[in-house]
Amino acid sequence: MNYFPDEVLEHVFDFVASHRDRNAVSLVCRLWHRVERLSRQRVFVGNCYALSPEILIARFPGLKSLTLKGKPHFADFNLVPHDWGGYVQPWIEALSNSRIGLEELRLKRMVVSDESLELLSRSFANFKSLVLVSCEGFTTVGLAAIAANCRFLRELDLQENEIDDHSGHWLSCFPDSCTSLISLNFALPLETLQNILMRAPQLVDLGTGSYIHDPDSETYNKLKHTILKCKSIRNLSGFLEVAPRCLPAIYPICLNLTSLNLSYAAGIHGSELVKLIRRCAKLQRLWILDCIGDKGLEVVASTCKELQELRVFPSDVLGVGHAAVTENGLVAISAGCPKLHSLLYFCQQMTNAALIVVAKNCPNFIRFRLCILEPTKPDPVTMQPLDDGFGAIVQSCKHLRRLSLSGLLTDRVFLYIGMYAEQLEMLSVAFAGDSDKGMLYVLNGCKKLRKLEIRDCPYGDKALLTDVGKYETMRSLWMSSCEVTLGGCKTLAKEMPRLNVEIINEHDQMEIGSEEQRVEKMYLYRTLVGPRKDAPEFVWTL
């Protein structure tokens, strides 16, 4: 390979797309490292505190697309205090001071201020795509800057962010003709929906906001006609408030839809949902509420033969109410949708028998996340733990990369996971296991493990400290409400200087600080740049 000029190598590397593969390529030899890094355009940083913007910019001068993730996953569920960190400002500042021609920025669980968005919008002439998922800290002022200044914007994707101001006025900052705009994925209020659709008829992805109640109104008719013109829409989401009788407005585009997100449409009842879904035979991705019921899922199973990803969210989070979906819905889906590879399923109950059937029907799962709403609930038929059911899943699904467990579980399920889940990269555990052995089975067995997050399990210092070297092969470990002690964490931090071991201490316990004291929340991650300088008072890096 030394005989090839750099351009040839670069050309070959062009065919290597995935981050993992490119990272591997860069490890072969110095020459390949250099050619690879100079030609790399897309970089994924799974933990913004693992390195610094300066390191990134120095290594990849050709950077065009950056993905950054900030807070730990459990921050989504209010387990991480508000000011923990994850600020994007230093990254945007550093990038704007450099010669990097950034075109795409994808952020997840980061704090994004209006200043950051304004700086972003002014710094990169070719900026094309902004994706913000589960971020916070900005208002529509920042969004207005993006709409107004990014002349070549193609994609604006805002999912589940905490935005302080919901007024739609910023949308008028888009230029009169957004011929570059292909994707607008956020809750568009109805009045502006019209407007945008007329300016950007080539839209492929569309989010809708509040809908209308009255099918006889003029607005509804206008909308109907506008939608008829948008033959390109493949991805539809929103429907925050909708009267079921107005759904027929979107029937014309249902046949082309590949992705449908109705998970905010609590106003649509099961039967209306079903009528809608029957028209969407090409769906590959469906996000829905559990009020669709097991029967509704049977309709999905018989209609959506191309389905690859299904998410069923709970519609009643305040109480354990009526039986919405159970194991039967999941079994039906597994039988009817052979291409299913990603699942997030909130349900009232699950049985081992059902999981075994699902495992047999769908050996291609890549992501399997099951959330039984009541913690530690056993199989209701046999009253047994769900070890065997999940065991069947990991044994059958040889490509499983992500797994979330729930229900009653003993150490045995972790033994199975350690033995069979060879490709597992991310595991989420809550209220499970009996002893340190559970965690050890996983740390020992899952060679590709990158993220482990545990809450309310009986794992202590022995589990934490048995194999400290493992953590440098992983991105991060989260443990909350477990049995690890301050002494255990200190020992770990001492032995592994290239890890940041953060204790999140909300109640000033650490002042009392005895080594035996249990640590409420610990988050550790590998890093090249040592303890972070923006940690708030309540975060203590050991």
Binding site: V317, T382, R412
Partner: protein
């Protein structure tokens, strides 16, 4: 780097237990070792509770439901269905949108605060239906609020002698004349009010 599987102490997990067959558990007649049930002792929260701890009750690991053969194990208490922080694991964005939906549902379903619109008025108002005891009560209040008069109600002719007719949207989304159904039924099914004016209103009167 090679790491040996270190199961240390597998005596309580015999190898056969690791054999996975795609069949129902327990079907091989093999004595299932006592499952987690009896071993699931209530976790004692022996934690130094600091001052000013949050009000959220600590979640205790639920031992299996009391109908499990725990043999009257005194450690197994009935499960406490406390509100657990961060459970179920859904994003706050989603959780908040449901709570909003719930509260608007409650408003509409219980007929408490409902919007009142009047044709031609620049903005809407809100009234609390629970505040009124009867139709005359409500209508008088509306008359005062919007400065108009409804006229005489009769079952046959609706509201006579006025350019205005009070209507409401019910749970099915239909627009109904105020006054036809018993008051309680009205309060529980009314989602919003609209004072119709002009020819539309008169049209109702001529039915």
């Amino acid at each position: 780097m090679e790491r040996s599987l270190n199961y240390g102490g597998t005596d309580d997990l015999i190898l056969e237990a690791t054999e996975l067959r795609l069949g129902l558990p327990g079907s091989d007649g093999h004595e299932k070792q006592s499952p987690a049930t009896a071993n699931h002792v209530m976790r004692n929260n022996k934690r130094a509770a600091p001052q000013g701890m949050s009000e959220e009750p600590r979640f205790k690991r639920i031992s299996n439901e009391s109908d499990i053969a725990s043999n009257g194990d005194p450690d197994c208490e009935p499960p406490a269905k406390a509100q657990v922080v961060g459970w179920p694991p859904i994003r706050s964005y989603r959780r908040n949108s449901f709570q909003q939906k719930k509260s608007t549902d409650q408003d509409d379903g219980a007929g408490m605060y409902v919007k009142v619109s009047m044709d031609g008025a620049p903005y809407l108002r809100k009234v609390d239906l629970k505040f009124y005891k009867s139709y005359p009560d409500l209508l008088k209040a509306l008359e005062n609020m919007f400065k108009f008069a409804v006229g005489e109600y009769s079952e046959r002719e609706g509201y006579n002698g006025s350019d205005f007719a009070p209507t409401y949207e019910d749970k099915d989304g239909d627009w109904m004349l105020v006054g036809d159904v018993p008051w309680d039924m009205f309060v529980s099914s009314c989602k919003r009010l609209r004072i119709m004016k002009g020819s539309e209103a008169r049209g109702l009167g001529c039915l």
